[in-house]
C-alpha cells in the first residue's frame, strides 16, 4: 500500500463519516410535526416528488433549458459512476483485480462525456454574467473539482497501467473527498431530503400527485 493509497483511504473515511453524520442528524430531526389535518395522500406525494415531478416535462428548469438540463443529468451520472469507481479502486488496492481493457475504455469514454458536460456547466457559469453575479468560489471549486475528478477517473480506468496517472488519480480523489462534504457538493445528500420534504408538503395538501 502506497502513501497515496493511505491518504485516499483516510480521506474516504472522513468524507463518508461526515456524510453519515449529516444523514443521521437529518433522520433524527425528522419530518415537520404538522398538526393540520391531512388532505391528500402523503406517501403518494413523496413518491411523486421522487419520480414524476422530476420528469423534464414537469419542470421549467428542464424543458426551458434542455441543453443545460441534459448536461446536468449526464454530469451527475458521471459523478455517481466516478464515486462507485473510487470505492472499487480503494478496495481493489488489496484485491488487485484487473478490469478488462474494453470495459475500462467504455467506462472511460462515458466519463469523458460527463467530464465535457461538467466543463460545459462550468463554462456557462463563467461566461454568463447573470449567473456569475451570484456565484461564489464554492460554485467554481465544486464544479471544477468534480469535473477534474471525473476526468482523472476516466484516464485511470482507461490507462490503469500508467503509475503516474494512478498517483494523480488518488491525489485528486483525496482533494475531492475533502471538499465533497464541505462545499455545495454536499447536496448529493440534501437533494434526497429536499425531495422528501417537498413530497410531504404537497402530498399532505393533495397537490401531488397530479393527475
Amino acid at each position: 500500500m502506497e502513501w497515496y493509497h493511505i491518504l485516499a483511504w483516510v480521506a474516504s473515511v472522513i468524507c463518508f463519516g461526515i456524510f453519515f453524520g449529516h444523514f443521521i442528524r437529518l433522520i433524527s430531526f425528522g419530518l415537520p410535526k404538522d398538526k393540520a389535518k391531512t388532505q391528500g395522500k402523503t406517501s403518494a406525494g413523496i413518491r411523486y416528488a421522487y419520480i414524476n415531478s422530476m420528469m423534464p416535462q414537469h419542470k421549467e428548469s428542464a424543458y426551458l433549458h434542455l441543453p443545460t438540463y441534459t448536461a446536468g443529468i449526464i454530469y451527475h451520472l458521471g459523478t455517481f459512476l466516478s464515486l462507485l469507481l473510487l470505492i472499487f479502486s480503494l478496495i481493489n488496492i488489496w484485491i488487485g483485480w484487473k478490469m478488462p481493457e474494453l470495459l475500462g475504455w467504455i467506462l472511460g469514454g462515458c466519463l469523458l462525456i460527463s467530464t465535457l458536460c461538467g466543463l460545459g456547466v462550468l463554462i456557462k457559469r463563467i461566461v454568463k454574467q447573470e449567473l456569475r453575479s451570484f456565484s461564489n468560489p464554492d460554485d467554481y471549486i465544486s464544479n471544477g473539482l468534480t469535473t477534474i475528478f471525473q476526468a482523472i477517473t476516466a484516464l485511470f480506468i482507461a490507462f490503469p497501467h500508467l503509475p503516474a496517472i494512478e498517483i494523480v488519480y488518488f491525489i485528486i480523489s483525496v482533494l475531492f473527498l475533502v471538499w465533497f462534504p464541505l462545499g455545495k457538493t454536499r447536496h448529493i445528500l440534501y437533494f434526497f431530503f429536499a425531495r422528501l420534504h417537498l413530497g410531504y408538503f404537497y402530498g399532505r395538501r393533495g397537490t401531488w400527485p397530479e393527475h
Binding site: L64, F193, A194
Partner: protein
C-alpha cells in the same frame, strides 16, 4: 439605517439554528445556484435583473446560515459567500424577501433540486420580524388585526350596519323576509368568515354567500368581533402575532360553539388558518375547518343547492390563487364548482398548480412601498387574461380580486372580476 439591536440579532440567528425538524437544515443546504429557477419567477420575467432570481433570495438566507453554522462559513467565509447578519445584509433581505417575492411557490415546483424557496423566504421574513424590520405598511395591517380583530380596523358598528344592509338586500333579492345574515349566534353548523375587504369595499359578496346559505338552508353565523379570515402575521413573519390572530378566530369559534369553521374566499387566510393555524396553536383544531369552495362543492354534491349554468353564459376564466391551489390542493374542487356554475370556461396558460400569481400575494397588496413592482409583475397575469378572451375572471380570493381589479384598470382589460360565491349565487335555482 439604524443599527440592529444585538439581542434581536441573536434571536434572528437562533431561527436558523432550529432543529425541531430537518426541513430548514435540508433546504438551507440544497441550493446549487444553477439559476434555472429564474424564469419561473414573475419578478425576474418582468424586470430581467439577477437579484430577482429565486436562488438569490435563497442565497441571502443560506449565506447567513453558513456564516454561523458551517465549518467553511465560520473559517473561510469568502469561499462560500458566508455573510454576517449586519445592517447591510438585513437591508438587502428586506428588499429581496419582502419586496421581491409573493411566496407563490411556483419556483419551488420548478426547482431542479426541490428547494422550498418560499419556506426560506418566510424564514428570512421571520428573522427580519425579530429585528423589527418589517415594512411599515405591512406591519400596520398586522397591528390593526391585533388591536381591532380585523386587518382594516373596521369598527363593530360600521360592520354590523353593513351586515344589516346586506340582509335587507338579500331579503329583497330572494323575496323572503325571513332570509337572514345571522350575527353572533351560537350552536350553528357553520361559522363563516370574511375578508375585511368584503364589508369595507365589496359587501355584495357577503350577500352572495348568504344567498348560497339561504338556498342550502344552512344553519350559520358570522361573528361581529372575530370574522376576519386573513392573517397577515403569516406574511410579516412574526409568529407571535400570527398565533394571536389565529387564536382569536379559533377561540371565537369555540365561544359561539360553531361546528365547522368555513374559511371565506381568501388564499393566504385559508393557508394561514387551515395549514398553519394548528401549528401556531400547537394542537389540532377541535372543529372541522374547510374553505368556502369546498363547502359549496358539498352543497352541490348533496343536492342542497341546484345550479343553472346557463345563467352564467359569458365566457369566464379562472385565476388560481397560489395558496388555495398549488399550496392548498383545491385544483379539482374549484374546477368542479365552476364547471357546475358556468357554461363557458376558458383556461389560462399556464393554469392550476402551475399558475402565475396575480402579483398581490405574499403581502404585496399591503406593502405600498412596492406598488410599482407589484403592478409591474401583474402584467404577466394581465396578458394571460387578455389572451384567454374571457369576459369574466373568477377567483376565490379577495386579495387576488383586489389585485386583479387594479390590473384591469392599469392594463385596460375590460373584464369583470368575480368571486366564486358571486358566480355560484348567480346560477342558483331557488
Amino acid at each position: 439605517m439604524k443599527p440592529i439591536d444585538p439581542v434581536k440579532r441573536e434571536k434572528a440567528l437562533a431561527l436558523l439554528a432550529d432543529t425541531s425538524d430537518s426541513k430548514l437544515r435540508t433546504h438551507l443546504n440544497s441550493c446549487v445556484r444553477c439559476g434555472l429557477c429564474a424564469t419561473s419567477c414573475m419578478y425576474y420575467d418582468t424586470f430581467h435583473e439577477a437579484k430577482y432570481i429565486p436562488a438569490v433570495k435563497v442565497d441571502i438566507v443560506a449565506s447567513i446560515y453558513k456564516r454561523y453554522n458551517t465549518f467553511l462559513g465560520k473559517h473561510a467565509p469568502k469561499l462560500v459567500n458566508a455573510r454576517p447578519l449586519n445592517e447591510e445584509t438585513a437591508e438587502e433581505m428586506v428588499d429581496l424577501l419582502f419586496g421581491s417575492c409573493t411566496m407563490c411557490g411556483r419556483c419551488v415546483t420548478h426547482c431542479s433540486i426541490g428547494v422550498d424557496i418560499s419556506y426560506l423566504v418566510h424564514k428570512g421574513r421571520e428573522m427580519l420580524a425579530e429585528m423589527g424590520m418589517v415594512p411599515a405598511s405591512l406591519q400596520s395591517t398586522v397591528d390593526a388585526a391585533v388591536q381591532t380583530g380585523n386587518n382594516m380596523a373596521i369598527p363593530v358598528e360600521e360592520y354590523t350596519d353593513t351586515i344589516e344592509w346586506m340582509e335587507e338586500e338579500l331579503q329583497d333579492e330572494v323575496e323572503d323576509e325571513n332570509a337572514r345574515i345571522p350575527l353572533d349566534e351560537s350552536d350553528r353548523n357553520v361559522f363563516y368568515t370574511l375578508n375585511p375587504r368584503e364589508p369595507k369595499f365589496f359587501p355584495l359578496s357577503i350577500k352572495a354567500m348568504a344567498k348560497i346559505f339561504y338556498a342550502a338552508q344552512e344553519s350559520w353565523t358570522l361573528s361581529s368581533k372575530y370574522y376576519d379570515v386573513t392573517n397577515y402575521g403569516y406574511f410579516n413573519g412574526n409568529t407571535a402575532e400570527a398565533t394571536l390572530i389565529a387564536r382569536n378566530l379559533h377561540d371565537e369559534v369555540l365561544r359561539l360553539k360553531g361546528k365547522r369553521l368555513i374559511l371565506g374566499e381568501c388564499g393566504h387566510g385559508s393557508y394561514a388558518n387551515r395549514w398553519e393555524g394548528p401549528n401556531y396553536l400547537g394542537h389540532s383544531y377541535e372543529f372541522d375547518m374547510i374553505t368556502a369552495v369546498e363547502l359549496i362543492k358539498e352543497y352541490i354534491d348533496s343536492g342542497l343547492i341546484r345550479l343553472d349554468k346557463s345563467l352564467n353564459s359569458e365566457p369566464v376564466t379562472i385565476h388560481d390563487p397560489c395558496n388555495l391551489i398549488r399550496n392548498g390542493g383545491l385544483f379539482k374542487t374549484l374546477r368542479y364548482v365552476l364547471h357546475a356554475s358556468c357554461s363557458s370556461i376558458i383556461e389560462m396558460d399556464p393554469y392550476g398548480n402551475d399558475n402565475h400569481c396575480c402579483g398581490g400575494g405574499g403581502g404585496q397588496l399591503a406593502m405600498s412601498e412596492y406598488n410599482e413592482r407589484r403592478l409591474g409583475i401583474g402584467k404577466i397575469k394581465a396578458d394571460q387574461i387578455r389572451k384567454s378572451g374571457a369576459k369574466i375572471v373568477i377567483t376565490p380570493c379577495h386579495n387576488c380580486v383586489d389585485q386583479l381589479l387594479q390590473l384591469n384598470h392599469t392594463y385596460k382589460l375590460n373584464v369583470k372580476i368575480m368571486t366564486v360565491a358571486e358566480i355560484v349565487a348567480n346560477a342558483l335555482i331557488l
